[in-house]
């Protein structure tokens, strides 16, 4: 329990020294990882039934060689791939936004530093330090958020591509 309180206090101190932008980055990271986990769960669970449904529907057909049946197959693949690609853009946008938030925090912190300079005339390094930590911590947080997202995003993009490919392979035209 004591360790928990200590950890909570440490988080609070970190958030306070990083300034308000840190909360935005935290929110963005939470949102991004929610989407990433949603995708992971989809690929591991719901996707299988979607693919199975498409394959069954395709296998049920009496003929699979005409122009019409090709178009139908194409549409079926497109529908499933739409589901696969769902939220992927959003994850990518979040990855791109995280460093921007970090930059925002940096600039905001710099403004604080210069404000303190303007008031104290540079005599008080201690007061400027709070602005400096407000400038650097969000940058770091933004980078960490973006990096964590980049790996997840790459994995998901690969997975999505492969699943689409697999689906195309499943919907055979040979018999």
């Amino acid at each position: 329990m004591h360790a928990l309180i200590d950890a909570w206090a440490a988080v609070n101190a970190f958030m306070a020294s990083g300034g308000p932008v840190l909360f935005l980055i935290a929110g963005l990271t939470f949102f991004m990882w929610t989407l990433i986990f949603e995708r992971v769960f989809y690929f591991n669970k719901a996707l299988k039934s979607d693919v199975q449904g498409a394959v069954d529907q395709w296998e049920e057909r009496s003929e699979r060689k005409s122009w019409a049946s090709h178009q139908i197959r194409y549409a079926m693949i497109s529908r499933v791939s739409e589901k696969i690609q769902d939220n992927m853009d959003m994850i990518q946008a979040c990855v791109a936004l995280a460093p921007l938030f970090g930059l925002l925090g940096t600039v905001w912190g710099m403004i604080n530093v210069f404000d303190v300079l303007a008031i104290t005339g540079g005599g008080d390094a201690k007061q400027m330090a709070s602005g400096v930590s407000m400038a650097t911590i969000p940058t770091m947080a933004g980078m960490v958020a973006a990096l964590s997202g980049v790996f997840a995003n790459t994995y998901l993009a690969r997975k999505a591509e492969r699943e689409t490919q697999l689906l195309e392979d499943h919907l055979t035209m040979d018999h």
Binding site: W67, A68, S69, Q71, I72, R73, Y74, A75, M76, I77, S78, R79, E82, D89, M90, Q92, A93, A96, L97, L100, F101, L103, L104, V107, W108, M110, I111, F114, D115, L117, A118, I119, T120, G121, G122
Partner: protein, 456 residues
């Protein structure tokens, strides 16, 4: 030639005489007249001089007696001065004796008074900046009186006064460790005065109704024009409402030395002032941002409507021309007899026609998302240029002016990012909507036609 020079000299001389003599007031008709007038005035003047001389001679005897009188007075005064000098010397000896007597009698008390006067002086300067004075404003008069008494050579403090000094030192010490409530007059930022309950946190802060107060040199309380964050104000309110136990509170650590933190806060600009610091570039970025948001919301509404109609179209079998999918399907309906390849071409053409309406505005949003940070950078750089120009003119002697300029230059970068971030998000959302409809049109329309045909 000669005569003209003579004439000029004469005129100049005449002019000089005219200005001096009272007789020659009236203007002379000719130069001869002038000469006559000068002669007359000379005669009159010499008469006056003679008169004055006679007067002086008459007075001479009188002067002699006056001189004698003055000399007598001088002798008398000299005598008196010598007497007074003697008396002064005698009295000086007496004063010295008395002083010695006083020193002897004071003895060790003298050291005590020395300590007392230094303590009183310390307390005076402490009380001057102490927030406790807001509660007990009349302490300074007593100490000023005591100090004056100590500094004079002829007066001694009474026992009551010595005890009062002890009491005041102890009261200051005790009060600076207490959190108390008392009633006082508070000056609001709009100039109104109100009698209200004030909470004093030791010697650190004064708060009233959630507002932080400052104390001026005349011990009047005034609300700070700019207050700390709402969270601190809430803590202050909580402190005022609480009656026992602990209550979280934001303290200005510089309180006992005059509260420079809180005073500095008044100088730092708030959000709106910061926004105005962005100047023209800042306003442009804001305008672009507002435009981007409006555009994004408008496109989102339009695309949501289109999406809903397309969904409805997917469920129905008859093409409806109020949505893009329906129009593409209608093309297929019209060309029922043709072979697959031709139908595909016709449909592709129809899809191409629908594309611009669905994608309109998307590129603009993307451009704004990219341009906004660049605009911010532009503002920052121009701000820096202005700042450094000021430095070339006024020199870099004042880091305050320079730092203020740089901090206001950076605000445009913040504005640029504040516009870019939501625009990127909105673009992603709107783009996802548009992409979905386009996917249905491009990849599924032919399939839908085939499915419809099979179903029949």
């Amino acid at each position: 030639m000669k005569s003209s020079i003579a004439k000029r000299v004469l005129v100049a001389a005449a002019a000089g005489l005219i200005s001096f003599s009272a007789v020659a007031q009236e203007k002379a008709a000719s130069l001869d007249d002038l000469l006559k007038m000068v002669q007359q005035s000379k005669v009159a003047e010499s008469k006056e001089h003679k008169q004055r001389e006679a007067e002086f001679r008459r007075q001479k005897a009188n002067q002699q007696s006056l001189l004698k009188k003055a000399k007598d007075t001088r002798t008398a005064e000299e005598k008196r001065s010598a007497e007074l000098e003697k008396k002064y010397q005698e009295q000086e000896v007496a004063v010295d004796q008395k002083r010695q007597q006083l020193d002897e009698r004071l003895g060790s008390l003298k050291e005590l008074f020395g300590h007392m006067s230094s303590t009183a002086a310390d307390l005076r300067s402490n009380i001057g900046s102490s927030l406790v004075s807001a509660q007990y404003p009349n302490r300074t008069e007593f100490i000023d009186g005591l100090l004056a008494k100590m500094n004079s050579a002829t007066k001694l403090p009474t026992i009551e006064e010595i005890e009062r000094l002890w009491f005041e030192v102890q009261r200051e010490t005790l009060e600076s460790g207490k959190v108390v409530k008392f009633n006082a007059t508070v000056i609001k930022p709009n100039g109104e005065q109100a009698q209200q309950e004030v909470v004093r946190v030791g010697n650190f802060n004064l708060v009233s109704n959630g507002k932080y107060l400052e104390m001026n040199d005349a011990y009047q309380l005034a609300e700070l024009i700019r207050q700390p964050d709402a969270s601190f104000q809430k803590m202050a309110e909580g402190l005022q409402a609480s009656t026992a136990g602990f209550s979280a509170f934001g303290v200005d650590p510089t309180g006992p030395t005059g509260g420079s933190y809180l005073k500095a806060m008044i100088n730092s600009p708030d959000i709106v002032e910061r926004w105005h610091q962005g100047d023209i570039v800042g306003y442009i970025i804001t305008a672009v941002g507002v435009f981007a948001m409006l555009l994004a919301i408008f496109r989102l509404i339009v695309l949501t409507g289109v999406s809903a109609k397309v969904n409805a179209q997917l469920r129905s079998s008859t093409p409806n021309t109020n949505n893009p999918l329906g129009r593409v399907l209608a093309v297929a309906e019209e060309n029922k007899g043709v072979d697959g390849e031709t139908l595909e071409l016709k449909m592709e053409e129809a899809v191409l026609k629908e594309r611009p309406a669905i994608e309109s505005g998307l590129n603009l949003l993307k451009i704004i998302a990219m341009v906004a940070p660049l605009l911010g950078l532009l503002g920052t750089v121009t701000g820096m240029i202005v700042t450094f120009q000021a430095i070339t003119i006024f020199g870099a002697g004042d880091p305050k002016a320079m730092a203020g300029g740089i901090s206001s230059a950076l605000i445009t970068t913040v504005l640029g990012l504040c516009v870019a971030i939501p625009t990127v998000l909105m673009h992603t959302i709107v783009n996802a909507r548009a992409k979905r409809v386009l996917h249905i049109l491009e990849e599924q329309s032919a399939g839908i036609v085939a499915e419809n045909a099979e179903r029949k």
